[in-house]
């Protein structure tokens, strides 16, 4: 039925693991399989491999090796950061500030904390998806113990003023966590100069394996443990270490942050080419998110009169892998909270398409994708009653 070639434009959902990363992981499955907590040679090798990976992660974000703790992914890092900080600081206060456009790993953790008696302030964002630092400053109270604002958004790609947010928190002695899951390999990060206390990352977003991530905890910052058990990760995160995953994360992050400018320029150039064609050549289309403060590979556009899930199905049929903020694809029938937060009416949110480009995309992909998107939009509009109404109401039927 469908074409067999896949043009993958959903790199914010996940990425293919780089074959070089898989290669590096392989010996740690069946040859050097020792449990790092044990005493013998096989175990010492695993321990060394873990520490080497930790060093790479630290280096990639300007941290020190003993500030990095491995987790099972971005979700665990976010849960640990928020719950761990909240419980550790409960005596100081019960107020947490976050933004209206966080990933569910943050918002649902906040919902949980709310049930436990914490108060959550959701900072609004402007029409481009940015938090205003002044809003943050005025939301801070004597009871504020934690601020969590994502570095860049997974749907609309908007980048937040992280150094300024960090500075505002540091000034008031409030812990600052940022979910940087979408950022590694896309923007340079330096936890020191950016005043970041806690930072989440996840390997599968930058050509590493799924099921492995890390939490950066600035030295001196004390948060409660989250996974209780054995004494792994300097007694901060229990569980037998996923050695192949950790090794893969190390290799992936080292590659991700090297040559960053060249790679992001390449992706940004392709992105802009595709984005410009969509905005100029398909009428009744708008860009969601910020024009410049935006992840290099991210496109998020809304096509009036159509619904995103149908659009994805047509694109899938053409071999294009993409994403939408439409409720109809979410299993919950709620359109994306991010698109609503930047002020999109629900019906426009329904017609949104997210394309997130990556290293393997080419000029040919762009042309092909554009043609298919245009055809699909036209096809869906042709069957849309909203579009029919619109055509009738226009002064002349062009």
């Amino acid at each position: 039925m469908a074409s067999q070639k896949t043009i993958y434009m959903d790199h914010s959902a996940t990425t293919a693991t780089d074959p070089a990363v898989v290669e590096a992981m392989l010996p740690w499955y069946s040859i050097n399989y020792g449990n790092p907590s044990s005493l013998y040679r096989l175990a010492r090798e695993s321990r060394t491999a873990i520490e080497e990976a930790r060093e790479k992660v630290a280096k990639a974000i300007g941290a020190k090796q003993d500030e990095i703790f491995f987790t099972s992914g971005g979700t665990e890092s976010d849960n640990w950061a928020l719950k761990g900080a909240a419980l550790a600081l409960r005596k100081k206060g019960n107020h947490i500030i976050t933004s209206a456009i966080e990933h569910h790993a943050i918002t649902h953790t906040c919902d949980y904390l709310k049930k436990q008696g914490f108060e959550i302030t959701y900072l609004p964002v402007d029409e481009f998806g940015q938090v205003r630092v002044d809003d943050l400053k005025s939301a801070i109270t004597d009871k504020t113990i934690l601020v969590s604002v994502m570095f860049a958004n997974n749907e609309i790609g908007t980048i937040q003023p992280i150094p300024e947010i960090g500075a505002a928190c540091r000034e008031r002695g409030i812990l600052f966590h940022t979910d940087a899951v979408q950022v590694i390999g896309n923007l340079p990060i330096n936890v020191e100069s950016m005043n970041i206390d806690l930072l989440s990352l996840s390997a599968h977003k930058f050509y590493g394996p799924k099921g492995i991530g890390a939490l950066y905890i600035r030295k001196g910052v004390r948060i409660d443990n989250y996974l209780h058990g054995g004494g792994q990760e300097h007694r901060k995160r229990a569980g037998t270490e996923n050695v192949p995953g950790i090794v893969g994360l190390g290799v992936a992050i080292e590659k991700a942050v090297s040559n960053l400018e060249v790679k992001t320029l390449q992706i940004r150039t392709l992105r802009d080419a595709l984005l410009d064609r969509i905005l100029h050549e398909i009428p009744n289309t708008r860009l969601n998110g910020h024009r410049t403060m935006r992840l290099p590979g991210n496109i998020n556009v809304s096509f009036d009169f159509i619904e995103g899930e149908s659009l994805l199905l047509l694109l899938d049929h053409s071999g294009i892998a993409a994403s939408t903020g439409s409720a109809c694809s979410s299993g919950s029938l709620e359109p994306s909270h991010v698109l609503l937060a930047i002020g999109l009416p629900a019906e426009v949110a329904h017609g949104s398409l997210r394309l997130t480009l990556g290293l393997e995309n080419t000029n040919e992909d762009i042309s092909y994708a554009f043609d298919e998107i245009k055809k699909a939009v036209e096809r869906l509009r042709a069957m849309s009653p909203l579009y029919a109404d619109y055509l009738k109401k226009r002064p002349c039927n062009v």
Partner: protein, 143 residues
Amino acid sequence: MYSEKVMDHFMNPRNQGEITDADGVGEVGNPTCGDIMRIFLTVKDNIITDVKFQTFGCGAAVASSSMATELIKGKTLEEAWDVSNKAVAEALEGLPPIKMHCSVLAEEGIHKAINDYRVKNGLEPWEEKEGHTHSHDELTCEE
């Protein structure tokens, strides 16, 4: 986890054994904590001419005993008294932090043995530091 020097002294302990007619014997540690060290001295003209040890304990405890006996052999009692656990650990090219107390054990064993000699010979014992204790931290787990 252990330096090559520790492993060398563990695998090939120097001065291991017993001196049956020792001039001074010192025993420290506690089997409950998993460590007992016994130091035997032969002293001639205030000089340690022979030293031997017996140790029940971990790799660091065995290596510390071995190194400590090396360090004090041929020394005067005063010089031997001043051999600190830090000196033992340094000579071993370092010990993991959790294992530092095993070197303390060696220092204390030497002090006990020297004082045993002194008391047996009608001399005032020198003042020893407080007894060695394990730091009973939080529990950890093996795997």
